[in-house]
Amino acid sequence: MNFGGLDLNTVWFVLVGVLFTGYVILDGFDLGVGVLHLFVARRDEERRVFLNAIGPVWDGNEVWLVTGGGALFAAFPAVYATVFSGFYLAFMLLLCALIFRAVAIEFRSKHPAQQWRCFWDRSFALGSFTSTLLIGVAMGNIAWGVPIDARGEFAGTFLGLLHPYALLMGVTTVTLFAMHGAIYLALKTEGELQARVRERINPLIIAFILSYVLLTLATLLYVPHVTEAFRREPWFFTLVVPVVLAIANIPREVNRGREFYAFLSSCAAMAGLMAIFGVGNYPYLVYSQPFPEHSLTAFNAASSPKTLGIMLTIALIGLPVVLAYSISIYWIFRGKVRIDKMSY
């Protein structure tokens, strides 16, 4: 199969990217709501509104990560194996955080005792924050490069993953998800609570822009292989334009009270950021440093062309159907949150 000169490996590089982008955009606002949970929602009723804003959808959103993991396993088994065994403790922490986040949403409002609710509120917030930070740190390491030996195995340590660049990427991700979550909440809440949520949007946008600018400077200075694609093909810089416009559009739409358009802008900005990340890293899936020749790429880490072809058929059948019913389900749950007896 041939897609206008694209080979199957590149197609799968893009598809895995699409799945993780779907995850970042969709679970990004769930996690962002979690990050804001303790700070913005104070009374029990408000916290229930926050949880019910994401209640019907967070579960389906998390599936993007699970499917992304499965697709990575199928299309690039060597990457799946090296990254998850190499980042062992970091991933165990991520899994633990995601477990707490998930069950906290489900369990919190099922019992009225204050201590019970307080415990799960904290679990939800801490689980969301830790997951977000670790996702950012992982992406930071992928871009920065990690030590890979000649067998293709990770040769670094857990603490070695926590270098300043990766942590900066982690902080950037937290601010981005918090911003995205706040915009989503503005869409789903009303009255006094919405006013309080709206106040947080601009500071979060500024925090995100500051950390992203710092991150970009660091990338330009210290991560030359990521910027190389842009030097080689300067027209890739046009990717930056829609991201800047989308982010600039957010406060404008929020001021006009058009939260839905603000939310769409935020989604578009995140898609653009992921595209920039993908273009910068292609063809590397895991960049190796200090030995770039050991890097895992879309070509040396991939499954056989036969499997990539079969998987593409599966994706082409499955993804449109998934998108169609996911959109319908979002449509059913449109509008402001109303607490009823089935609510969390």
């Binding site: 499917t67 396993f73 199928a74 088994p77 799946y80 998930a102 489900e106 499954s303 998987m311 019913y325």
Partner: protein, 456 residues
Amino acid sequence: MTTELLARLQFALTITFHYLYPPLSIGLGVLLVAIEAAWLKTKNPLFHQMARFWTKVFALTFAIGVATGIVMEFEFGTNWATYSRYVGDVFGSALAAEGIFAFFLESGFLAVLLFGWDKVGPKLHFFATCMVALGAHFSAIWIVVANSWMQTPAGFHIVGDGLHARAEVTDFWAMVFNPSSMDRLTHTVVGAWQAGAWLMVSIGAWYLLKQKHREFACLSVKLGLTLSLIASVLTLATGDRSASGVARNQPAKFAALEGHWQTGPQAPLHVVGWVDAQTETTRGLALPGMLSWLAYGSAAHPVTGLRDIPRDERPPVNFTFQLFHLMVGIGFAMIGLALWASWALWRKTLENSRTLLWLLVISVLGPQIANQAGWWVAEVGRQPWIVYKLLRTSQGLSAVVQANQIVASMIMFTGVYLLLFAAFVFLLNEKIKHGPDETDLQPTGKLALGFKGGAA
């Protein structure tokens, strides 16, 4: 302890805890479809009340199933990196297909099932419930296909050698329909139906014992028991097929199931027994010739004994033997209990027999123990192979993961899972104490539309 044993224990711990929940979701999913179909057809508000109550129980099991399932998706990579590189081309595609075809469907429509009561009409709600149940079954299909490929690999070839060897797909459908996948899938699914069905029976019987919510309880017991009866008989039939498949495809595992040492005809079937692997003997109550007959339809047919399997290719025999017999014993007990309770229900004596009601209350443990024992048999009986006859478990480990990292993560998972289990039992108990909601006899919102005799 070696890294290999620790990694295996970690997988056993996380998968065993995870597998408490998906069978309940699969079984309850089927029952929810039946309940909502009955409600649509009869418009009896009792069915609406049942749908509401059992949906809440379903939500609880589903939540933990999802939370613990995400660990499984990544654990192949964390602890079994070499295995993952070796099988990714084949095994990975089944796992990815599970994500795209099953998980999205399940969790997407779960939103409508749980929160859509007042937002969509009864038919759309029924459709959503069907999709959730279908998604749960799709998930079972793909994961059992993937595991069956590890038991009876097919549709692949090995490319490269030494460290770079790996399995690559040659025939996708041969991989999907490998020799054991359909037998094991049907057996797994009906086992899951039993888990959900007996949970419904158990809670219903508890209300009957406490003389609460009588109408609700009777109908729940009746419905649960219907599925229990069907599923327990099907479990026997599919189990028989599955076992003769094992005899043909995995002779070492088959010999271990029965502690069968000497190859030959008239192989005996043990009802109970104890295996001594040192002296290569099995003592116990045995029916001569039955094993040959069950596996091949003829007592004269020889069955391979463990003495003909090289020592380093034998699974732990007594462990496999005991868990297999535990599973089979419970399987027969469930059929007996289902028949007894159905008969009592038919004679209308069920509500008066406290012994039987108590048995039904604890029946929920039966399928749970048997399902777990069955999976332990399947996995331990395949040892020392991680992919049968292709890759040893000891060769599949992550090269860079140290024993202390595994210990640390195991301590973490044990703590987290104990907490989750305690919270689950606590909340389920609360739900049961609270019981079905009387106001649920009156549908609200869009559900009430087109509902004759419903809310005015």
